[in-house]
C-alpha cells in the first residue's frame, strides 16, 4: 500500500509535466486545427530561459549584497520566463504557421518539426553540447506521511501545475479573451467576421501554450536538474500523445490524459522491468485509440483533411 501511494505521488509529479505540455498542444489545435510540433522544443527553450533568469537573479542578489530567498527567485523566474517564452511561441506562429494557414495541414506539421530542429541546433550552437544544471532554488525537505515519503518539491510541482491549470480554466471560461478563443475554436471562419481577428487569437494561443510549457520546463528543472538540448523531444512527443488521447482540442481531456500517461508510465515501470516502459505504455495507447478513436473527450465529427 505504501509502495503504491509512493508511486502515486511520483506519478502525479511526472503526469503534471505531461499535462502542462499537452495543454499547449491542445489549445493550439482547438484554434487552428493544427498541432504545433515545435512545442516540445519550446518546452526546452522555456527551461533554458528559466535557467538563465534564475542564474541572473541569484547573481544579482549576490552582487547587491542581499541574497534573495529561494522561493522569491523561483516565483520571479517562473513569471519572467513564462512571459519571455510566450514571445518564442508568438515567433513560431508568425514564422512557421501564419504563412501556411491555407496550405495542406501536413506542410505546417513539417514547418513545425523543422522549427523544432532549428531550436535544438540553435541551442547547441549557442551554449555548446555540455549539459547544464538547474540551480537548486529551494531546499529539499522530505516529509514522512506514514511510510510515504514526499518532498516539498513534489508538492510544489503538483500544486503549481494544478494552480496554472485552474487559472487557465478561469481565463478561458470567465474572460472576454477566453470567450473569443472558445468562439474561434467553434468556428474559425465565422468568428473573424464578427470582428475577432484570427491574427490576434492564434498568437495569443501560442503565447499561452508556450508560457505553460515554460512553467513545465522550470518545474522539470527543479525535479531533474540536468538540462540538455534534446530533452524536449521525448517529453514533447509523449505530451503530444496525451493531447491526442484526451481528445483533440479538449483542455480538460489533455490535462487528464497527461496525468493518465504519467500514471501508466510510472506503474508500468513499477510492475515490469523499466525497459518495457515505452512498449507497454504505447501499446495501451494503441488499444485505447483503436477502441475509442476520438480520444476521451473528442467529438467524432468527421474532419476533412485540407489537402
Amino acid at each position: 500500500m505504501e509502495f503504491f501511494l509512493q508511486n502515486l505521488v511520483n506519478a502525479l509529479q511526472w503526469g503534471s509535466f505531461y499535462a502542462l505540455i499537452a495543454l499547449g498542444y491542445s489549445m493550439v489545435y482547438s484554434i487552428l486545427m493544427l498541432f504545433n510540433f515545435a512545442h516540445g522544443d519550446i518546452f526546452m527553450v522555456g527551461s533554458y530561459i528559466g535557467l538563465g533568469i534564475a542564474t541572473l537573479l541569484l547573481g544579482l542578489g549576490v552582487s547587491a549584497g542581499w541574497a534573495m530567498p529561494g522561493w522569491l527567485v523561483l516565483i520571479l523566474t517562473i513569471i519572467i520566463s513564462m512571459f519571455l517564452t510566450a514571445f518564442v511561441g508568438i515567433l513560431v506562429e508568425r514564422i512557421g504557421y501564419r504563412p501556411l494557414r491555407d496550405a495542406p495541414r501536413a506542410s505546417a506539421a513539417i514547418t513545425g518539426l523543422m522549427i523544432g530542429i532549428i531550436l535544438e541546433t540553435g541551442n547547441l550552437a549557442l551554449l555548446g553540447a555540455r549539459r547544464m544544471s538547474f540551480p537548486p532554488l529551494i531546499k529539499s525537505v522530505t516529509y514522512d506521511f506514514g511510510g510515504v515519503f514526499v518532498t516539498n518539491k513534489k508538492i510544489l510541482i503538483v500544486l503549481v501545475s494544478l494552480g496554472l491549470m485552474y487559472a487557465l480554466h478561469n481565463f478561458i471560461q470567465r474572460t472576454k479573451w477566453g470567450m473569443a478563443m472558445r468562439a474561434m475554436s467553434y468556428d474559425y471562419l465565422a468568428v473573424p467576421l464578427m470582428g475577432v481577428s484570427l491574427n490576434v487569437i492564434a498568437p495569443m494561443t501560442f503565447a499561452i501554450g508556450s508560457g505553460l510549457a515554460s512553467a513545465a520546463g522550470i518545474l522539470y528543472g527543479l525535479a531533474y536538474p540536468v538540462l540538455d538540448p534534446y530533452m524536449g523531444i521525448l517529453l514533447g512527443w509523449k505530451a503530444f500523445v496525451a493531447a491526442i488521447l484526451g481528445g483533440r482540442g479538449s483542455i480538460l481531456g489533455a490535462a487528464l490524459a497527461g496525468f493518465l500517461l504519467g500514471f501508466i508510465e510510472i506503474f508500468v515501470a513499477m510492475i515490469f522491468p523499466s525497459t518495457l516502459r515505452d512498449l507497454i505504455a504505447y501499446s495501451i495507447i494503441l488499444l485505447i485509440l483503436t477502441f475509442r478513436p476520438y480520444g476521451f473527450f473528442g467529438q467524432a465529427h468527421s474532419t476533412q483533411l485540407r489537402l
Binding site: L100, T111, I118, T121, I233, Y282, T290, S302, L305
Partner: protein, 429 residues
C-alpha cells in the same frame, strides 16, 4: 543571320538563345552519353587535372565540400567542375544531338522495355564509373538510392492516399531486422546465431529472398496501422502510426536474441551497387505502375473524399489495407538493403530522427509525384552531405530551406506530376 551580324549585342543574345534551343533538342540518351563522357574524363584525367589545379585530390562531391572547407580553393574547384563535368556534358550532348535523336526515334518505335533497359544500362555505367573514384561516393550513392525507395513508399501513403503516417522508420526497422536475421542465420557464421545452416556460397543468390522476407514482415506489421485506419484518419492515425513506431523500436530493444539495444552487426556485404540499383529501379517501376493503375486512382479518391469514394464503389477498406501493406513492403525492402549497406543496425537508428528525415524528403520533393520523391530524396541527401563542413549549422540551413519551400510551395517542389517514361525517353526533334 544577317541581323545578328549587324548588331553585336543581338549576336550575343543569339548565341545564348541558340545554345538554349540546341540544348532543348538533346534527348535523354544524348545527356546520358554526355554524362558517360564526363565521368570517363574524370576517371582517366581527374588525378592529373586536380594536381595541375592545385587541388589535394579529386573533389568528391562536385567540389562543394572542398569549397566550404577551404575558400581559397573555390576558383580551382569551380574550374575543375566546369572542365570535367560541364564542358564534356554540354559538348557531347550538343555534338551528338543528331545521331542521338535518330537513335531515340529508332528506340521509340520499338518496345518501351528495350529502350528503358538501354537507358538504364547507360545510367548504371555512369554511376558505376563515378562511384569508382572513392568509397565515399559509393556509400553515398547506395544510401541515396535507398532513400529514394523510402521516399517513394511513404509518398504512396502520405501523398497519394493523404494519410499522415509516421510509422515508416518502424517498417524499415522490421525489414532491416528480419532480412538481417535471415541472412545471419542461414548463410553466415557469426557470434549471434552460430554457424550457417546453408552453404554461404548460396547466400548472394538467396539475398533477394531475404529482402522480400523483410518486406513481407514489414507488410504484416503494417496491418497494425491499417486496421485502425478504417475508423479514423488524420491526427489519430498519425498517433497510432507514431505509437507503432515506438512499439517496434521498444520491442527490438527488448529482444535479446537480435542483440537488444546493442544492435546487430556483421551482416554480409551483399548490398553492392548493382543490387541496390536494380532494387531501386524495380521499386520505381512497380510503384509508378501501382499509382497509375485503377487502384492508384482509388487512392486519390480516398484522399479527396472518402465518403464519395465509397459511394462510387471504391472499396475503401481494401484500398487502405493494400496501400499500407504495399508501402510498408517497399520500406521493409529498403530497410533490408540499408542493413546490408551499413552492416550494422541498432534500434536507435529507427527513431524520431529518421522519421524527420524521411518526412523532410517526401515533403521537400513533392506529394503525389514519383519524380518529386526522387528529386526530394536525392537533393536532401546530397545537400546534407555537401553541407557537412558547416557541421552544426547544417541543421539550421536545411530546416530553414525546408521551411521556405513549405511557405512558397506548400505541396513540395514537384508535386502532382505524372511520371511517364515514354514521354521522357522520346526524341526531341
Amino acid at each position: 543571320m544577317e541581323s545578328t551580324k549587324s548588331n553585336p549585342t543581338l549576336s550575343q543574345d543569339g548565341f545564348w538563345s541558340r545554345l538554349r534551343s540546341g540544348l532543348a533538342r538533346v534527348p535523354v540518351i544524348g545527356w546520358l552519353a554526355g554524362g558517360l563522357c564526363a565521368v570517363m574524363v574524370e576517371y582517366f584525367l581527374g588525378d592529373a587535372l586536380s594536381y595541375y589545379l592545385g587541388l589535394p585530390k579529386i573533389p568528391v562531391l562536385f567540389g562543394f565540400v572542398t569549397m566550404l572547407k577551404k575558400p581559397l580553393l573555390i576558383p580551382s574547384s569551380t574550374a575543375y567542375v566546369i572542365l570535367v563535368y560541364l564542358i564534356p556534358l554540354v559538348a557531347v550532348g550538343l555534338l551528338t544531338a543528331g545521331p542521338a535523336n535518330r537513335l531515340a526515334a529508332f528506340l521509340h518505335r520499338r518496345a518501351l522495355w528495350l529502350s528503358a533497359i538501354i537507358h538504364l544500362v547507360l545510367l548504371y555505367t555512369i554511376i558505376h564509373i563515378w562511384s569508382d573514384i572513392s568509397d565515399y561516393r559509393l556509400l553515398l550513392l547506395k544510401l541515396t538510392m535507398i532513400a529514394i525507395m523510402l521516399t517513394l513508399s511513404i509518398n504512396v501513403i502520405n501523398g497519394y492516399m493523404g494519410e499522415f503516417s509516421c510509422s515508416h522508420p518502424g517498417f524499415m526497422a522490421l525489414g532491416a531486422y528480419s532480412a538481417s536475421t535471415m541472412t545471419l542465420i542461414l548463410f553466415t557464421n557469426d557470434k549471434l546465431f552460430g554457424p550457417a545452416l546453408l552453404p554461404p556460397a548460396l547466400g548472394p543468390y538467396c539475398y533477394p529472398l531475404a529482402l522480400i522476407f523483410g518486406g513481407v514482415v514489414a507488410a504484416l506489421g503494417a496491418l497494425v496501422v491499417a486496421i485502425p485506419s478504417f475508423r479514423t484518419r488524420g491526427d489519430y492515425l498519425a498517433i497510432i502510426s507514431l505509437a507503432f513506431m515506438f512499439i517496434v523500436k521498444s520491442v527490438i530493444e527488448n529482444l535479446e536474441f537480435v542483440g537488444g539495444p546493442r544492435g546487430m552487426g556483421s551482416q554480409p556485404n551483399w548490398s553492392n551497387l548493382p543490387t541496390v540499383f536494380v532494387w531501386t529501379v524495380l521499386c520505381v517501376w512497380v510503384i509508378n505502375n501501382f499509382v497509375r493503375s485503377t487502384m492508384g486512382k482509388a487512392l486519390n479518391a480516398v484522399r479527396d473524399n472518402e465518403m464519395a469514394a465509397d459511394a462510387m464503389t471504391v472499396d475503401t477498406r481494401k484500398t487502405k489495407i493494400v496501400t499500407f501493406m504495399f508501402g510498408a513492403f517497399w520500406a521493409g525492402v529498403a530497410g533490408g538493403l540499408f542493413a546490408h549497406v551499413l552492416r550494422y543496425v541498432n534500434p536507435g537508428t529507427f527513431g524520431i530522427q529518421k522519421l524527420a528525415e524521411i518526412l523532410a524528403m517526401v515533403y521537400f520533393g513533392g506529394l503525389n509525384s514519383v519524380v518529386g520523391s526522387v528529386v526530394g530524396a536525392v537533393s536532401i541527401n546530397l545537400l546534407s552531405e555537401m553541407l557537412r563542413p558547416l557541421e552544426l549549422f547544417k541543421w539550421i540551413v536545411i530546416p530553414l530551406l525546408l521551411i521556405l519551400v513549405m511557405i512558397y510551395r506548400p505541396t513540395g517542389l514537384i508535386a502532382f506530376r505524372e511520371f511517364d517514361v515514354r514521354k521522357i525517353l522520346r526524341p526531341k526533334q
